[in-house]
Amino acid sequence: MEAKPEEKAEFEEAEIEYVSYGGEHHLPLIMNLVDQELSEPYSIFTYRYFVYLWPQLSFLAFHKGKCVGTVVCKMGEHRNTFRGYIAMLVVIKPYRGRGIATELVTRSIRMMMESGCEEVTLEAEVTNKGALALYGRLGFIRAKRLFHYYLNGVDAFRLKLLFPPPRQVL
């Protein structure tokens, strides 16, 4: 008996609906996705911290009413730079590889740029080829390597995107 190949969802990219965080009704959707896919344990307060203070930076992706992906971010002053931070990015397995994560992140970064951020940063495991490729295409560089950043001993890259200086209007 052969192993069943991973079920991939069938859909057109245009069928995916992207929505900005709209309130308490979105919170359990985000929490379920992240709890399912990421290994870090977050209490409900962690989610509230991000979505209450920066609701405009979190987005959800829906397919026919089902939440299939989310991105959760923040921004703020850090050592004299106004900087955005991508805290969580999840797309459920059957929907991966179709640009949903890229679209979610892009919307968030655009919002950060419009809000005056000078740069955006996040950490990713050095082994997470998918994430590194995604962010690399968007213009992030690997600014630092963090030794044994994760509990399982895996290193991390600190990824940073520097926005060009705003064009002077003459």
């Binding site: 209490s43 307060f45 911290y49 630092k144 001993g153």
Partner: protein, 707 residues
């Protein structure tokens, strides 16, 4: 006196809790908080949060969900305290009344401790690894069991010694979990005698081994010697299995003690003990077959994942007992290394320590830097790196022996006589000594940490150069010197200024090369990285060449006056091999830059702009620290663009970058006629030249894209 544990009957959902409750004491009393919690649950609606002056959302993130196993470490505890665990038989003494099982279990404990020790070295806390051993946490109660007692003592003494080395080195910035020992019983009375206690046990088992062999050859039994355990068929195997484990611990402890001796005095002895350790580790591995086969019951699961040679689970370990002593955040479950991997780790550690012990304590800074760079290529772990650092920098001197001004004096090709010159008391020279000391410490850290430190360090080297130059100009602005001493001082300044520049560019080069090793550059960024490398190499070569010329001058002056022979002139006009080598690198860097630029310019798929920024931003980010320190001067994104915009395959064919590199490399190799391979590889290693060798083939591969 605490009461015996009492089981609480009631709880919120009506199910009895699995844990025994914490006993009340004289100053505490239990009160049921369930009504209060219920009222609180009803008091807030979903989505509401209490705002407090001293409690905001950010602080709330540190909250834990009670009874969530991922966050609430107490929920997965079997026992509340060490005493409770012991009372419930978690760490029996003796382990078994059957002496054969007792011995096997003791060996299991020894093996599991080795696995825990390796896990600790690899980056987990002592509390969750080695000190998850209940026997170790209450060492005194093991006194009736000589074998276990002596083994635990030496483990404790060893851990203490290793913590001390790593703490002293202070290279563990990111690895600070390693030295956390709060609340752990690391200091034991009489641990200084641990070796003699171990020796006594070893002696007994040796005699037991001899006795069981004597029995088989029917010779006279020694009186009053009880066998190790009751099964005579297994006596020899168990004795041998124990002996190699005890001997390994003994020799390992000696390695640490010898390496601690100042000025590298114990290195030769350490090497002997390292060799013994490796022999014993081999015996330990070989004992696995016997240990696995000596009992009828086979163990479940993959033998390779087990933390013991026998495959059985060890008795007397509970990682959650220390959960309150670990880091402030609740400890997550960690995976102890398998026993096999633990042995592999120690083999590697010993090999790394052996490399350190074999080092000749060369007073030449350049050789030392080469050695450290080469050593780091094997990716030594924290314990080995800490030992290296402590060997290099002790009491503010190199190897605890050479003052840093003397080291700099030699590196800057100044005559031996100037190393005691008063000028070293000058503030700038003192600071320079500190910089060299810090450079050595930084070069002993893990590559990721090292690169970040080296980047920031560039600024310090630039500043010291400016300071020295200013001091030089203030003192000797008008060159009308007449006194000998003034001449000497001038010379010191000149040499050292040049040397500081060379060192600065060397650090810049290391910084850039480490980026490759750490995989910090994506392939689209290689072009600008090689271009920057090329710019740094040009300056490094220039300074190195000048430094060698100046050093040749000093040597000439030192030598007896003799007529200039044509041979001398020829030697003078030849470029020194070290410089040739750098020139080889320049060719490679330039060639790679142009090749990648041509690819980018001619083949659209290699040029993919990102939606949010441009190559300019990436350039600024990657080279920010170098640019800030003006290393090198007049290097910027526009100049990079200018150099590479017009690169085309058609024009590239006119240049022979890689052919030139090959030719120069051959020349370098031949100039080291007595030991070409060694010289070649050491020079390569100085600059981290893994990528250099394969480039000509890379060119052939890429040029096939043209067709």
């Amino acid at each position: 006196m605490a009461d015996k544990p009492v089981y609480e009957e009631a709880s919120i959902d009506g199910q009895p809790p699995k844990l025994a409750s914490i006993p009340a004491s004289d100053t505490t009393v239990w009160a049921d908080a369930s009504p209060l919690l219920q009222a609180a649950c009803a008091g807030l609606r979903d989505g509401e949060l209490i705002h407090g002056d001293n409690f905001n959302l950010f602080a709330a993130m540190s909250a834990l969900e009670i009874m969530d196993p991922k966050m609430d470490s107490g929920i997965v505890c079997t026992y509340y305290s060490i005493d409770e665990a012991i009372e419930n038989g978690a760490a029996p003494i003796p382990i078994s009344l059957d002496s054969t099982i007792d011995v096997r279990c003791t060996i299991d404990i020894m093996d599991h401790l080795l696995a825990c020790e390796a896990a600790w070295h690899k980056g987990h806390s002592l509390a969750q690894t080695v000190f998850s051993c209940i026997y170790l946490l209450r060492l005194d109660r093991t006194a009736p069991h000589a074998l276990l007692h002596s083994y635990c003592r030496i483990i404790r003494a060893t851990c203490k010694a290793v913590v001390s080395v790593v703490s002293d080195a202070r290279t563990h910035e990111e690895e600070d979990l390693f030295t956390m020992t709060y609340g752990l019983p690391l200091n034991g009375d009489g641990d200084d005698k641990c070796l003699s206690i171990l020796n006594a046990v070893e002696e007994t088992i040796s005699r037991q081994l001899r006795a069981c062999k004597a029995t088989s050859s029917k010779r006279r039994l020694p009186e009053d010697l009880e066998p190790l355990q009751s099964n005579s068929n297994l006596e020899e195997g168990f004795c041998k299995a124990l002996l190699c484990r005890l001997r390994f611990r003994k020799h390992f402890f000696h390695v640490l003690s010898c390496m601690k001796r100042p000025q590298g005095r114990g290195l030769e002895s350490a090497r002997k003990h390292i060799a013994s350790c490796l022999t014993e580790l081999e015996s330990i591995l070989e004992s696995a077959d016997f240990l696995r086969s000596c009992f009828d019951e086979s163990c479940e699961g993959d033998i390779d994942d087990k933390t013991t040679a026998s495959g059985f689970e060890p008795i007397g370990f509970d990682a959650m007992l220390n959960s309150r002593l670990s880091a402030p955040t609740p400890p997550r479950a960690i995976k102890i290394l398998s026993w096999k991997k633990a042995v592999e780790y120690f083999v590697k550690l010993l090999h790394d320590l052996d490399v350190i012990c074999s080092y000749s304590l060369d007073p030449h800074l350049e050789s030392l830097l080469r050695f450290v760079v080469q050593f780091q290529k094997s990716q030594p772990d924290l314990v080995a790196r800490s030992h290296l650092q402590l060997l290099l920098v002790q009491d503010g001197k190199l190897y605890g022996r050479d003052p840093f001004f003397a080291v700099i004096n030699k590196a800057a090709a100044l005559p031996e006589a100037t190393k005691n010159h008063d000028i070293q008391k000058n503030e700038s020279f003192l600071q320079l000594g500190m910089l060299v000391m810090n450079l050595l410490k930084i070069l002993c850290t893990n590559a990721a940490w090292q690169r970040r430190k080296l980047g920031k360090f560039l600024q310090d080297w630039r500043v010291i150069y400016v300071q020295l130059e200013l001091a030089f100009r203030n003192e000797y602005g008008e060159v009308s010197s007449s006194s000998n001493d003034e001449n000497t001082c001038m010379k010191i300044f000149q040499h050292i200024l040049l040397w500081v520049e060379e060192q600065t560019y060397w650090i810049a080069f290391r910084f850039l090369i480490l980026g490759f090793e750490l995989e910090l550059y994506s392939t689209g960024e290689y072009c600008m990285v090689y271009w920057y490398l090329y710019a740094v190499l040009i300056k490094l070569t220039e300074k190195t060449h000048l430094m060698m010329a100046v050093s040749h001058d000093t040597a000439k002056r030192k030598g007896k006056k003799k007529k200039d022979s044509s041979k001398d002139l020829a030697r003078e006009s030849r470029i020194p091999p070290a410089v040739l080598f750098l020139q080889c690198y320049i060719c490679l860097a330039e060639g790679l830059t142009m090749m990648l630029a041509a690819l980018r310019n001619e083949i659209p798929v290699f040029h993919s702009p990102s939606p949010f920024n441009t190559e300019h931003e990436k350039f600024v980010q990657h080279f920010e620290l170098l640019q800030r320190a003006c290393i090198p001067d007049h290097v910027s994104y526009p100049s990079y663009k200018e150099s590479t915009t017009h690169a085309r395959f058609s024009t590239l064919a006119m240049y022979n970058y890689f052919k030139d590199a090959q030719r120069i490399a051959k020349e370098v190799k031949s100039s080291f006629s007595n030991d070409p391979e060694r010289a070649f590889s050491t020079l390569f290693s100085r600059l981290g030249g893994r990528w250099g060798r394969n480039v000509p083939f890379g060119w052939i591969h890429f040029s096939s894209y043209l067709k």
